[in-house]
Each structure stands twice: as C-alpha cells, then as structure tokens.
Symmetry: C2
Subunit: 396 residues, 2 copies
C-alpha cells in the first residue's frame, strides 16, 4: 500500500488505521480507502501505464496492497470496451460502448473485488474468509481463495443459480445455503464470523473489494484516452461497482488525469435495477436519503436480488452528485434484451442485458441526449447463467 | 493485409493469390498465409507493441486483414499467462504457466480464429459462412457472425454439448445437427456449401483462422519477454492451435524477436489427446507420416473428438521438427484433474484439464526435465462445460 494513508468513514469521516482489520464505522458507515494522491500525482504518469501488464494491477499506486508478492491474481481486469455502432444506432445512442466484464476469471466483474480483497485479507492475516452472496461473488471469492490457499466460507440463498452453487463447491470452498436472500445469508455470516474468528468479507464490511471494483472506472477512462464518458449505466445490486466508478473518477480528477476542464462534469451514473427488487430506484423516485428493505425480492437477474443494500444512502448520494438517475426494468424485458444483444454478438448476463431497455427508456424520455457517449457496464458473461432463457422478439 | 505476399500449400509449396477465396490445394494440402517478413522486420519493433491495445490485433503486421475498419472484434486475445508455483511444485515442474484462454469472448480460444476468419471472410465478400464443429468453434463463429451481421450456418454432432448448441441458436446462427461426429458434419457442409454458394470455413479449408490462433504463440512469447518456453502442452483436436503455435515461433525467429541464439531450439510441442480419440498419438507412436481415422471416437472433452484431422500429417511434422511428443489421457483422469485444478483456483475446460496428467506423465518418464519452463495451453473456461462433472481425488 505504497500510498494508502488511512480508512475513512463514508458517513462521519472518522479515520481508521489501514494496517488493521476494520469492518464498518461505529456510526454504521462503510469505510473508504484513502491515498496520498498529491504524492501519487508527482510520481505516476499516464504514459507509464502504456508499459504495464494488461490487468487491474497496472493501477498499483492507487491499490491497497503492500507488496507485489502478496498479489493473488488470475489475470483479472483490462476487459474490452467494445464499441457497438449498429446496436447504438438501433436505440438512438450513436456513441455506445459495452464494458464486457464477462472476460474475467469466473466470468464476472466479481473477480476484481475478490482479487484485491483476498490479496489484502492475506496481508491482514486472515486464516478463513467468509462472505454472503447473491451468487457470483461467492464463485469469485472461492476461486481466489483456492488460488491463495485460504479457506473460504460462502453463504448463499438456497435458490441462487445452481451453477454458481456448484462452482463454489468445485473450488473447494465451504457452501452454506440459507432459506431466504442475501440479507439472511449476511446475518448468518455475521454471527458465525464473530464466533469462529473468520475474516468477514461481506460487501462494504470489507473496505478493499471496492478498490478492486474501482479499477473498472480507471480502465474505462484509460480505454477512452482519459476522456470521461457522459453516462455510465450500471446494473445495481449491492452497489460496490457503482461506488467504485464514482471513486475512480473522483481520484482521476484529483490526479489531474482526465482531459477537459478541471470542473468538467464527471460521468452521470445510472442505477439500473430489476422491477422485482428495486430499493434504490424506489428511494430515488421518492427523493429519500436512504433505501428501505424491499419485500419479496425476486428477479431472473440473480445479482440484482439485494433487497437491503448496506450502502444505499451512499449510492443515492453518488447519483445526486453526478447528476445521475435510477430506473427499473421488468424481467420479461430483460429476457427479451438478452436475445437482442446475443443477436448482435453479445451474450451478456441478465444484469448486463437489463441496461439495454434502460437505455431505451432514457433516450425516449430525453434524459439521455443523442450523441452523448454512453457506457453499458456488463457485469458478467451469459455463460454464467445457463438456465436463463431469452425471450424471442415481440411479434408485431 | 499490409504484408501478406501469398498463400502457400503446406505439402507441395504451390502458391496461390491471397486476394481470392481458396480452400485446399489441389494436392489436398492446407494453405498457409505467407508474409514479407523481411519488410516487417524493418518497420515493426517489439518496443512499439508496448503501446498497442491488449487484444490480438496488436500483431497487425502479421495478420491477414487489409483495413482496420474491417476488423470484427469482441475484445479477443491477450489472455493471461498465469504462473502456478504451488501446482507446479506439486507435479515437479517448478516453472509452470497456464495460458488461460477461457478469458476470451464465448469462453474459448476459438474466438481468435473466428475473429480473424470472419474479418477476412467479410473482405472476401462472404455472404453466408458455414462450418462444421465439435462444439466451441460453432459458438465462436456464431457470435462473430452476429457481430459482423453475416449469417452463419453451423453443423454439429447431435451429441455435442447441449449448452453449445443452445449458444449457437442464441447468437442467431442456423444450427444443423448431424448423426455422427465432426467428420460427418464436415461432409454435410462440404456438400451444401458448394450447392448454396456458402463460404466454407471448415478447419484448414479456410487459411485465416490459423492466423488468429497463431497469436497464441506471439502472446506467450511477448508475455515471457520474448524468451520461448521450453515446452508447450496443447490439447489437440483439429490442431489449428498447435500449428498456430508452430508458425508463431517460426515467424518470431524470422523477425529476430526471440532472445537467445539464432539457432536456439523452438518450444517442444506436445500433443495431448483423449484416450477415446487419439489419432495423432497413435500415428506418433507408430512413427507414421500421417493419421488414420479413429473409430468410435468418444470423450468427455468434446473439443478433442476430431477422429480424422485434416492436418494430421502436418501436426506430426511439427512434433518431429520441434522435438515434441504426443500422449493420451483417459476420461476419468481428465475429470479428476478438473477437480485438482479447480481446487487451485483454475476451473478449466476438460481439454485444458487433460494437460495436467499429461504433464505428470512427462515428468515421470523424464521426458520433461525439472526446471524446464512449461506452458499449459488451456483452451477454454469450465463455464463452457456445465455438464462435465469432476471426479473427487482418489482415496488412498
């Protein structure tokens, strides 16, 4: 952690030492990793990146790991940013790009959080790592735990995708199935981790996976030659990626790496959720400061089934501060979009597919202007969801 | 095709113009793309690569596409080369690396051939592209065809993996199922392509997918800082990747890019096949000059079920010329290796998993010396094979 100065509470700004295990702040806020960016700015240049290996570790000066030898890697990051002109023209968004996180180890963007989180956990002396998951994070942490030789315990809803359950076991992790959703899995981990001395890697209780997800934003900026896109659509469950994007662009601005005026707007962030579990959208529409738990959460996009995200309030703040918005999409619409995208050569996760109809809505309402540069953040490969059947196009 | 001079028969050296559609030579030999490497050598440097985008198109001067705008890409290539010290120590191969081709679009190395093949087919005016496949190539060509907006017809054995069949349809390609194996599918394509005017993209009847696979070798060399590894293990079905590796290292030597003496040995190539379909291994053991069709081919590693590879003789030559070898592995051993690898964090395709027991055999026999640098070429992600169940470790 060449440049980490401390951890800082996202709500009350209390500071914590970075070389000890911390979960949430006493006020309940998630902790953010802070760097000495002035110092980084003096020694790190955009040009030096050109020589760096094409994985997320190229952003080493703003990552929270002490030594290169501690890195647990399976080649995660530097996924393609694919320009999709034909698809863009079809939906009236000419400058449309897909960041394809399916090309990560374990097939999803969760690999980023797991790589950085497990690298850091190892340095902090974790002997067993436990986490609740709606699905994909479990597979990723199980894989990286196996790679690191650290036992992993994954708690998952009984009705999470069966392939993911199988994958966790395949990697040799301990799989605990709960009746209920990720909130119930989280309660189980919370109780057992305390009793057993496990390292609790629950979303936002562990400050480092956010740093891994942050590299999404760093890559998008680098791939667009340090011009921030106008809008990024993000399929939102726990929201780590959303806040990672927000933090990435804030840090890039502090480093002076973004082209354009110093006060040029950062990308407007858009939360896209499934209509069957949309706590952030509901709170956004109500102008609330925080989210309330969603009852009977259900959606084909398993990664979006997070009824009570811990950082709901922080997500809403990210939307307000970037001039973003939030909207929800029905499952049938998601499944139809899956087919539309596949016929354009992109078999995405249902979470990623939800972004296409959301984009259509934003164009129809005029919120998104023609000619704006838009990035759809596809969080995983269709291969991860063999059981999700696309719907055929509507007959007209 | 800035530097392509012609196509050359791999058997009789007859030359063909590169700007026309050609399949096999009249003598039956596969055609190889030839470049003016003297000219390339004068204008292209290893240093210039450092600035290039991390996909296979970074090797543009030795790829057969005329214009950048013609490229059909989904972000293929520049997959990680993962050092696996713990696994290596466990099998007595300390300097062991896995080239993980699972991190490609559609989850397999077939994306390389499809990207280059379809980019080139579009330039040659193909309006419909047809190919037979044991499975994964079908998914890849369907995806890239969808991306390019060119219809694709895929002929596949009825008992090819069901997920792959589904994927081909998902991408909007026409799926034709045949009773039998890839040879029967090939016969159907041969007949129908001639009748319908389809562009025949069968393995080796189409000279350009080999150029895509060649980038595997270019990347391995670049990732090892232009030092060729001692040995590369390759799971062999049709053998395009094997010959691609061979061609890559030959071209790198001609360019003078490999470190070490000009006459230093190129990597010894190792053909690994499934015991249920091992025509190359059988021919190698018999000292034959070519392969004979394998009867009743059957294996859990669908990509290895190629009973009568068109370039069998050329593969045997590649083994002889590089000092390589060939060996086969039983399905149960493959399925056990799948589990061993997953518990080290690597969920590979069964084809890729076959390489681990092959490596153990080569160490046990002494063919592979301790300390030699070995690359296992994993051709795909475990996600592509949800139905292949690993076996538990043997109880002792």
């Amino acid at each position: 952690m060449p440049n980490v100065t401390h951890l800082e509470c996202s709500l009350c700004a209390q500071r914590f030492a970075a070389n000890q295990i911390h979960n949430l702040c006493s006020c309940g806020g998630a902790l953010l990793v802070r760097y000495d960016l002035d110092s980084v700015r003096k020694t790190w240049t955009r040009d030096s990146l050109a020589q760096a290996k094409p994985d997320l570790w190229r952003y080493w000066p703003v990552l929270p790991v002490n030594r290169r030898e501690s890195v647990v890697s399976l080649g995660e990051g530097m996924t393609p940013l694919i320009e999709t002109r034909r698809l863009g023209a079809a939906v009236g968004a000419k400058d449309l790009w897909v960041k394809d996180e399916g090309l990560n180890p374990t097939g999803t963007f969760k690999a980023r959080g797991a790589a950085v989180g497990i690298s850091r956990a190892r340095q902090l002396g974790a002997t067993t790592i436990a986490l609740p998951t709606a699905g994909n994070a479990g597979a990723a942490w199980a894989a990286y735990g196996a790679r690191a030789g650290i036992p992993v315990v994954v708690a998952m809803p009984k009705d999470a995708p069966s392939q993911t359950q199988r994958e966790v076991a395949l990697y040799g992790a301990r799989l605990h199935l709960v009746d209920g959703n990720i909130s119930h899995a989280g309660a189980w981990v919370n109780e057992r981790a305390a009793a057993e001395g496990w390292y609790d890697a629950s979303t936002f209780k562990e400050p480092y996976r956010l740093e891994g997800k942050k590299t999404l934003g760093l890559e998008i900026a680098e791939q667009l030659d340090w011009r921030a896109p106008d809008v990024i659509l993000y399929p939102t469950g726990g929201g780590v990626g959303l806040l990672g994007l927000w933090k990435a662009f804030a840090e890039l601005r502090a480093l002076g790496w973004l082209r354009g005026a110093d006060d040029a707007p950062l990308p407007r962030l858009v939360v896209v959720q499934a209509a069957g579990c949309a706590p952030v959208v509901r709170a956004w529409d109500a102008g609330a400061q925080t989210t309330a738990p969603w009852e009977d959460a259900a959606t084909v996009a398993a990664g979006l089934r997070v009824p009570s995200p811990l950082a709901g309030g922080l997500m809403l703040r990210a939307l307000r501060e970037t001039g973003g918005t939030a909207l929800a999409v029905e499952d049938d619409v998601i499944r139809r979009a899956l087919g539309d995208l596949a016929r354009a050569g992109l078999w995405l996760s249902p979470e990623g597919a939800a972004l296409l109809p959301a984009l259509r809505q934003l164009r129809a309402s005029g919120w998104l202007r023609a000619g704006e540069r838009v990035v759809l953040l596809n969080t995983g490969s269709g291969l991860v969801y063999p059981d999700v059947e696309p719907l055929p196009p509507p007959t007209s």
